[in-house]
Symmetry: C2
Subunit: 227 residues, 2 copies
DNA sequence: CGCGAGATTGATGGTAATCAACGAACGTGG
DNA sequence: CCACGTTCGTTGATTACCATCAATCTCGCG
């Protein structure tokens, strides 16, 4: 690992408070790798050999069974993923695929487990990370079970828009659709149904002209939407 | 807390490996309480004052927004719940309600956080518990997004049936419906659609006469269904 | 200028929620 | 012990929501 990368990694919340010796022990045998878009980083049911930390780009977590597939989450920097599988030394429950070019730090699972046992600061950070991940899952489950697609989209727009009410999509709409748990076709339709509430689309820019009306439609909820 | 309860609690996975002093520090200020069915133990958006450990009975975790409500999980002994909220000292994302008469150990959140910081064995147990909870959530999300109601029911039956193919429901069907994420009406219909695969209902007993056929319909998956 | 990937629109079917009505089981009180 | 009433479960009809398939459109780029 290069020195610039090393200090960037050291600054991550997950590693910031641990001792230098612990950091050394974690990083030994780790590697930082860049991937092009569309690469499968890991596959569900494989054994959890590496903790992954996303430093740049975006990664999709997905799951499949019986010929069907669904996106569970989209990960943005800086975040670890599949931490739970690594800690328990179990198989992955999800696959991971790069959406964009991505830089990923891969840490051998046994390093994580070993250092976890001896460095309380690292243990605390791990628990924090894991608790955040758990709560994210609960929010996602609520978002999905309690709201329609159009409502999920409306709430996403309210969070993503800048003060002027504009949302600049930095990825394809199909990715947004997956992130929101719907098909691209239904995202189109959902955007159309939000028209009467002041939502207009022009290429990759979505404009929210009457935020208050959209909010009344969306019923935003701090216990679901990330603050 | 009575001595018999004390030793039962001490034997729980979460507390088994910690030092006696740590256990003492956790238990001080905790209380063990019995509740009748239908009691709301905690409400979403309240601050996480107590870690709850279910010792007897069953508890439903549910979430509501915009006038809608859904069951997220049903908890059976012995399990803790809302651990993540307590560790992060945040508000609860879910409400909890007793389904049956239930005995619950309530531990002040600050005890948990304080002992977590000083007892590595407890920290490890907490992480284990949390990782299991996280993976449970992922399984639930997959179960819900990748399967129809009838498929969820079929897989549940395959896991719940005894070697003779019988499932004795120990709760009302409406509870099972909530657990499976559907309405009571649709549970009735789902049971009916499983008829051709050898599923018959008689009161509170469901019999699976042709497990192999049911399995072909259900597509059981170790990455979703609890083993 | 034309190709092709992504986006949109339309039509259709499947899944499940809702509303309503009915039936069965069970406990209570007469 | 029976009559009644409540609760739970089932069944039917309707509607909402979403996936799928297919066709068309748009726009960026060679």
């Amino acid at each position: 690992m290069r020195d610039t990368d090393r200090s960037a990694v050291r600054a991550l919340h997950l590693f910031a408070d641990m001792t230098e010796a612990s950091f050394e022990a974690v990083v030994r045998g780790s590697f930082l790798q860049s991937f092009p878009p569309g690469v499968e980083l890991l596959r569900q049911s494989d054994t959890a050999d590496f903790l992954h930390v996303l430093l740049d780009g975006s990664v999709e977590l997905l799951a499949a069974t019986a010929g069907r597939e669904t996106t569970i989450a989209v990960v943005y920097p800086v975040a670890s993923f599949i931490l739970a599988a690594v800690l328990r030394d179990r198989t992955y429950l999800m696959s991971a695929r790069t959406l964009t070019r991505a830089r990923v730090l891969m840490i051998p699972g046994q390093n994580v487990r070993a250092v976890f046992a001896v460095d309380p600061a690292f243990a605390a950070a791990v628990v924090d990370e894991l608790a955040v991940a758990f709560r994210f899952m609960v929010r996602e489950l609520k978002n999905h079970k309690l709201r329609t697609g159009a409502e999920r989209l409306a709430n996403w727009l309210l969070l993503a828009m800048d003060p002027g009410g504009a949302v600049h999509l930095e990825f394809e709409k199909r990715v947004l659709a997956a992130r929101l748990g719907m098909t691209p076709e239904n995202l189109s339709r959902a955007l159309a149904t939000l028209g009467p509430y002041g939502v207009a689309v022009s290429g990759r820019v979505v404009s929210v002209t009457r935020p208050d009306e959209l909010r009344r439609f969306a019923h935003p909820d701090p216990l679901i939407d990330q603050v």
